[in-house]
């Protein structure tokens, strides 16, 4: 039973493996530009080809780009973010609001995906959240750091199509038991029991007793069986 859980945990990680490998490829392609110091438009020119190729080849991704750490040379104290988003058949460059005085200001340096990737220096997967200042929608983000000479200069990230990812993961969970995929804060990301509310915190559930728990990936997620 436990071995089955570990296999399922690995399959869940595999759902995003190719996507992460590609993000790491983009990180490698943009690292020289970030290390050399550059302006936003030069960064966009270097990043656009691999990002567009990524959006073309990965249906799980709906948007992707690079966010540069505030301290990186040449881009000013606020850093910068270049981003593209698929809209139907088109791919468009998305301009985030970079005026701190505006109500719609997107402070990416404070966002969970940016900070986690910078701090952990690992492949980072962020559980669905409402991205009020970005997509305005329920969003999942996959992120990898851009590391040059042991310093994190920026983060390559992708917005995932939550429905598609969730459908793939739902198929992998054990339908014969109450199996939950939990994020690092024990919030339900996916569940084989449809009566358990997605995003609910385990501690808020009235009758949840964890019988078994196995790790999933490197972001502190786990797969659990409830009694």
């Amino acid at each position: 039973m436990r071995r089955d859980m570990e296999q399922r945990a690995q399959r869940i990680v595999d759902v995003t493996d190719a996507l992460f490998t590609d993000l790491e490829r983009i990180a490698a392609a943009t690292a020289p530009a970030l290390a050399g110091g550059t302006d936003a438009e030069a960064l966009a020119a270097v990043t656009e080809p691999p990002v567009l190729a990524h959006l073309e080849g990965h249906p799980l991704t709906i948007g992707a780009g690079v966010a540069v750490a505030p301290e990186a040379a040449g881009l000013g104290p606020l850093g910068t973010m270049v981003w593209w988003r698929r809209s139907g058949d088109e791919v468009r460059r998305k301009q985030h609001v970079d005026n701190p005085a505006s109500d719609s200001y997107y402070d990416f340096a404070q966002s969970r995906w940016f900070r986690t990737a910078v701090q952990t220096r690992q492949r980072t997967l962020i559980a669905p959240f409402v991205d009020s200042w970005g997509t305005d929608d329920l969003t999942m983000v996959a992120a990898v750091p851009v590391v040059v000479d042991d310093a994190v200069l920026g983060v390559v990230a992708a917005d995932l199509v939550v429905r598609t990812w969730l459908a793939e993961v739902d198929d992998l969970l054990d339908p014969m038991s109450r199996e939950l995929l939990l994020d690092a804060e024990d919030r339900v990301v996916a569940s084989s029991d449809p009566t358990i509310e997605l995003s609910v915190r385990l501690r808020a559930l009235e009758d949840a007793r964890v019988e078994r728990r196995v790790p999933v990936g490197a972001s502190g997620w786990t797969l659990v069986h409830l009694a």
Partner: protein, 237 residues
Amino acid sequence: MLFAPLDAHGRAETVAERLRTAISLGVLAEGDLLPPEPELAAQFNISPVTLREALNRLRDQGLVTTRRGRGGGTVVTAPTVSQIRVAIDQVRALTALDLRDLADWRRALSLESVRLAARRASSEDVAPMPRSVERLHEAGDGIEGRRAESRFYIELGAASQSTRLSTALINAQVEYSPVLTLVYHAVETREHVARLLEPVAEHLREVRVREAEQAVADAIGFVADRAGTLRSNGWQA
């Protein structure tokens, strides 16, 4: 919502009014570049000529300036005074029933958001709330106060994990903005509401649903009462 297409008979003044509202609410902040004219005209579904006329009116009122040529565009330059004036113009038409309706809706959305947030919020969702409350406490005028409070409620909406609730709460805040701008003119109001909202983040972290609901209901009720009182005094500070 503010940039939703107008019908075929939309006029320059309606567009100007929409842009004026966006500027007065801080949705477009001082220094923000408006989208290029062809794009903005397409968004409103009007001719570039009509848009040009609307922008002329805003220019005459000192709300925007336009720089021509490369790297140019139309920039928002609204000073604080005109934002207050716009708020007063917009609340003048509101009756006591209108105020009640706005507060009812806001309360319904906020309380449901709080209930869901207590069950679902991540630490990341809750983390920015204390700072927004602090900003409300430290705000220097009604505009800063309204902005800080809006940020708090938007964060609360996001914490519910419901996109419909989140969107509805943002729209409700935008609609209520002129009222909030005037209500938060008084420093005592800003400080009192900040005190009421301060414990909400911790209640959410600890899944204390009832306490979180009570705090938010009290804050909304207090603001609604202040709005009613101000209205009966002709919106004099």
